[in-house]
């Protein structure tokens, strides 16, 4: 755990401004970069279609990014999945057993989506990339700790929850293998909370709100936000089952873990809802033929 401790604290009262700017910079570094690269790629494509080939562009871009990343400030780990080795073996196996059926369901669902809507592959990439970016954005929250959005809502709405189970698992695997964030032994549990519970809750709420006559954008927002929240409620439940309170049992332990995760997560859930609505707005502003082939837009009108 020493690795996760910040290396320089005692700055003293005079350094408040520097402290705040420091945290602002760290939290938004990735977000700034995100906007920056989106811009570059849009411009790049516009140049492609206008006929001017930019062959050295990739090289230049990757060079620039490397410099950017290496000069970027150090950052302590902010995270929220169950850490490697922190679930007893039997619980680890139990959650793998709960998770794997959904994963295989997801593989079949993905194969079907690709077969039936080959043009929609582009949006599948978009949904996966969205989840990939969002789970790297560690945001500060009102409790004084940090956590990250999951990005599961968007893909769950576009392709259905099982497809997102697969994409979410890939994100989790990447973070477990290369970032020591989450873990291989806890992948089943983390997969169940983030890549199963999240997408299914998001999908369920979207259709519930739409059936109740709610506004489409409100439904997108609520789906993404509640999908995010549900991930952490499930995580708290998983930890409570594995580590019940000595006196209060599972329920007391659940409240304790939920206090840690879910409260931190509320503002982040709202953030994720907003981000998802922004991407949604951008999607429906470009109603290409491929977008209309997506299952959701054959049921839903494109509301602008």
């Amino acid at each position: 755990m020493e690795r996760r401790q910040p290396d320089s604290r005692g700055w003293g009262g005079a350094a408040y401004g520097r402290w705040v700017i420091w945290h602002l910079f760290r939290a938004w570094k990735d977000a700034f970069y995100f906007v920056f690269s989106v811009n570059i790629f849009v411009k790049m494509y516009e140049r492609e279609v206008s006929g001017v080939k930019q062959s050295g562009f990739w090289l230049l871009l990757s060079l620039g990014l490397t410099v950017f990343f290496f000069t970027a400030s150090p950052q302590e780990a902010h995270a929220m999945h169950i850490m490697e080795g922190f679930l007893p073996l039997h619980w680890s196996l139990f959650w793998y057993a709960m998770f794997l059926p959904f994963f295989f369901l997801g593989l079949r669902s993905l194969a079907r989506v690709v077969r039936e809507h080959p043009d929609a592959k582009l949006f599948l990439g978009l949904a996966g990339a969205f989840a990939f970016v969002l789970s790297a954005l560690k945001m500060p929250s009102v409790t004084g700790s940090s956590s990250h959005p999951t990005g599961m809502g968007l893909g769950a709405l576009l392709f259905g929850p099982p497809a997102m189970t697969v994409l979410g698992s890939l994100v989790l695997l990447f973070q477990a293998l290369f970032l020591a964030h989450g873990g291989v032994t806890t992948l089943g549990a983390n997969g169940f909370s983030m890549a199963v519970a999240g997408p299914f809750v998001a999908y369920g709420f979207f259709h519930l709100i739409r059936k109740a006559g709610g506004n489409q954008k409100l439904a997108v927002f609520a789906a993404a936000a509640l999908g995010n929240l549900s991930t952490y409620v499930v995580t708290s439940f998983q930890l409570a089952l594995a580590f019940p309170d000595a006196t209060g049992g599972v329920m007391a332990a659940f409240l304790k873990f939920a206090g840690i995760f879910a409260v931190t997560q509320v503002p982040l859930a709202i953030s994720e809802g907003i981000l998802t609505v922004l991407v949604w707005n951008w999607l429906v502003a470009q109603p290409t033929r491929e977008l209309r082939t997506l299952p959701i837009f054959q049921r839903e009108a494109l509301e602008k």
Partner: protein, 103 residues
């Protein structure tokens, strides 16, 4: 037709920034450590005898490398999104110049 929602979007972005920046201004005594580190602490209180039985296969050596890897993850994702954004925009323009071949 295309740009009439920009005010809503701008408001949403503003809200988003406020949500992230707000805690930084309001809370000054905390170090914004990860919620999972706090959960780990809670575990050690509730089950003091528990020892993690598995270590991460690979842990980034130091916060610099970890930060790099997190930024890389965001970067890869952002690159894909950016590519698709450009592609969609190009297709949209093409559909439009062809006189809106569908609908």
């Amino acid at each position: 037709m295309k740009r009439n929602g920009w005010k809503t979007n701008a408001a949403l972005v503003g809200l988003l920034v406020a949500l992230v920046a707000g805690p930084l201004w309001l809370i000054k005594s905390k170090d914004f450590s990860g919620a999972d580190a706090q959960a780990t602490e809670a575990i050690s209180q509730m089950a003091p005898d528990y020892r993690p039985w598995f270590e991460p296969l690979f842990a980034p050596p130091g916060s610099e490398v970890e930060s790099f890897l997190f930024a890389l993850q965001a970067g890869i994702g952002a690159a894909v999104i950016g590519y698709i954004a450009g592609l969609l925009r190009g297709r949209m323009e093409r559909e439009r110049t062809r006189g809106g071949s569908d609908q």
